[in-house]
């Protein structure tokens, strides 16, 4: 019952005129960013974070969270209308959303996607409200050992679950951590890794410089290269009858959105997993459990509803470890976490004790953002369709300009802008060679937390690494991290085993 009281206080904050305004702006911007192919929530949050210095921290994070939500809704629009996922999280929505649009049922696909997003979002926020306080309570007892062990799990999931090239993933993690170490060594006060004695490195490498470089410049170049040629857009005619028909379809596909919502939430909690695999898994499960699974891929409403409820649910799930443990579950939440540090908040369980207004205001704003996303999305479908026709050659230069200004404003140093350009170009070239970049962003945000935790723990234990394994909570966490790290090593063995098995069958 205490939670309901806190949630009520949170609503009082979320419903303040300023916060309602930022939610609406955030949702609109997010819908727009999500709908544009090549732009996702992470690009929006990275590029627009410096703009939020205008409002108080609580409103700033409410804005970014609303943008994050809106982008999840918006991703479906281009998946359905163009057949190009608006963001990687909306890939699974193309499987059935596109065929529906080709059949002339684009309006049905758009409306069911929006309503399913709303259901997924709402279920996950309710789960979040229930899970977050007890988890934060447990996490209050965590010391340096546990914090370091948790970081290791976050990084290990990238190695174990992301499916990217393993040495390149580890490389990406390490380079992010090394970049986070540039500047003054917090424990001894000595300058370190000041490359070529350039003064600009003395204040360290701001995570935004790397994040904007990767997501504002690198990804834009990548999108420019990959968006060659125009794609045909479907037509959507909205009628009241069509709307009521879509609502009946939502009722019919309740199994798909229930599994999508719950699956998405729990997959979203895992770092490195998140909304993309969550929505793909939800699609798979919906197909498996459906009575007419043959219709999947040909324009089945359940195939739109399942991934859309899952990706919204996962985006809330990813906020859970970020707020309660201080460990982000995705690059977007990593940037939000970095933003909280800039605003002077210490991420982690203490937030729930010391910054109740902030935490509950944010949670309540998620409910509000969800409702507005649905309303704005459905009401302005024609407007978003018009936006989709906007050529990328207008959007791209504006994003480059925003990256320039956004890269300059946190430190007000041109050195950082040049560094951002180098990171952007580097990220573009390395991405072409399958180097994953999200781990580096996560690492540069977590580095300043992970390093002191490691050094303090080792100082207490006198350099003995076994403390991480012998302490009651950090021990099991470390075991999980190690299992995740060696999982990819077991994969070839498993493949070999199965290959042999199949070989026998055929012979």
């Amino acid at each position: 019952m205490e939670i309901l009281g806190l949630l009520y206080d949170g609503f009082l904050i979320a419903l303040q005129p300023l916060n309602i305004t930022v939610v609406i702006i955030g949702v609109v911007v997010g819908l727009f960013i999500g709908a544009m192919p090549g732009l996702g929530s992470v690009n929006g949050v990275a590029i627009l974070l410096p703009m939020t210095f205008l409002v108080p921290p609580t409103s700033a994070i409410i804005f970014l969270a609303a943008l994050y939500y809106g982008a999840m809704y918006g991703g479906a629009i281009s998946s359905i209308m163009l057949g190009i996922p608006g963001a990687s999280t909306a890939v699974a929505t193309t499987f059935d959303g596109r065929p529906l649009a080709l059949k002339g049922l684009a309006d049905k696909a758009l409306i069911t996607a929006a309503v399913a997003s709303f259901i997924g979002g709402t279920v996950s926020v309710i789960l979040f409200t229930g899970f977050a306080p007890p988890l934060a309570n447990i996490a209050l007892d965590f010391g340096d050992h546990e914090i370091f062990a948790l970081m290791l799990v976050a990084f290990a999931t990238f190695v174990g679950l992301s499916g990217d090239d393993i040495p390149k993933t580890i490389f990406s993690i390490c380079i992010g951590l090394v970049f986070s170490a540039v500047g003054l060594d917090i424990m001894s006060g000595e300058p370190r890794l000041v490359f070529f004695d350039i003064i600009g490195f003395m204040h360290g490498i701001n995570f935004l410089v790397l994040a904007i470089g990767i997501y504002g410049i690198g990804e834009m170049m990548w999108t420019i290269e990959n968006n060659r040629g125009d794609s045909a857009m479907s037509k959507a005619v909205l009628t009241l009858n069509g709307f009521m028909d879509s609502i009946r379809d939502i009722g019919r596909t309740w199994i798909a959105w229930t599994t999508g919502s719950f699956l998405g939430f729990f997959v979203g909690i895992l770092p490195a997993a998140g909304a993309t695999p969550g929505s793909l898994m939800a699609y798979g499960v919906a197909k498996m459990t459906s009575k007419d699974s043959d219709n999947f891929g040909k324009g089945e409403v359940a195939g739109v509803v399942a991934p859309e409820s899952a990706n919204n649910s996962a985006s809330t799930g990813a906020l859970l470890p970020m707020l309660t443990l201080g460990i982000p579950g995705s690059p977007t939440t990593a940037i939000l976490l970095g933003g909280m540090v800039i605003w002077g908040l210490v991420p982690g369980p203490l937030l729930f004790v010391e910054q109740k207004e902030f935490v509950w205001g944010l949670i309540a704003s998620l409910y509000v953002a969800n409702l507005f996303s649905l309303l704005i999305n459905v009401a302005f479908i024609p407007l978003f369709l018009w936006v989709l026709k906007m050529p990328f050659t207008i959007l791209a230069p504006i994003i480059f300009v925003l990256s320039l200004v956004g890269g300059y404003s946190p430190t007000q140093d041109m050195h950082d802008v040049w560094l951002m350009l180098i990171f952007g170009v580097g990220a573009y070239l390395m991405r072409k060679l399958d180097y994953p970049l999200a781990p580096a962003v996560l690492a540069i945000v977590l580095g300043p937390i992970a390093e002191p935790a490691l050094r303090q723990s080792l100082l207490i234990s006198n350099g003995d690494f076994s403390v991480f394994f012998t302490r009651p909570i950090s021990g099991p966490i470390m075991v999980i991290a190690i299992i995740l790290l060696i999982m990819p090593a077991l994969k070839p063995l498993k493949n070999k085993f199965f290959a042999k098995g199949e070989g026998k069958k055929t012979s």
Binding site: M51, F53, L54, D165, I166, P167, K168, I170, F171, C174, I175, L177, V178, A181, D185, M187, S188, E190, R192, L193, F195, I217, M220, M221, I224, E225, R228, P391, T393, I394, A396, P397, I398, F400, V401, L404, V405, Y408, S409, Q412, M414, V417, W418, L421, G424, V425, Y428, L429, M430, K432, L433, D434, E451, L454, R455, Q456, L458, L459, G463
Partner: protein, 165 residues
Amino acid sequence: MRRAEIVTASLMALFSVYLMWKSAELPIGWITDEGPGGGAFSFWLSAVMLICCIWTMFNWYHRSTPPSKSKDPFMDAFALRMFLLVGGAVTIMIGLVHFIGMYGSIPLFLLFYLRFLGGHSWVATILISLAAPIIIFFFFDVALRIVLPKGYLEPLFYPLYSIFL
């Protein structure tokens, strides 16, 4: 693609060695009563980076990863042209900030990009090129009080400062 893979891995390996050497400027061993030295964390991470680069080279040699097998060019003519034009334009924009400030370089960049890369009409081009710096000025310089660099154009802004700041 195959050549780009090995070149990148080698460059990154060199970079890792540089980082190790740079980290070693601070103590990387154990200091009594202080714990690990200030350079230890980055030194060992750079060492892991080096191992990963060698691992990538090993994969390259065995052609076991997609980029090491691919026969596609790392950049085809279109990609190279886009990369040079877009990357070059952004670089020049940032370089010009030092001379004519953000409010000089941003309109020039937008003008070039919209008109010559995008092929948009002069009306749209000029409208966006003028609107963007005005919005940015009111957002950053006025509302956020983050004074963006103006370069040699600074004197032109004195009247604006006296009105808005």
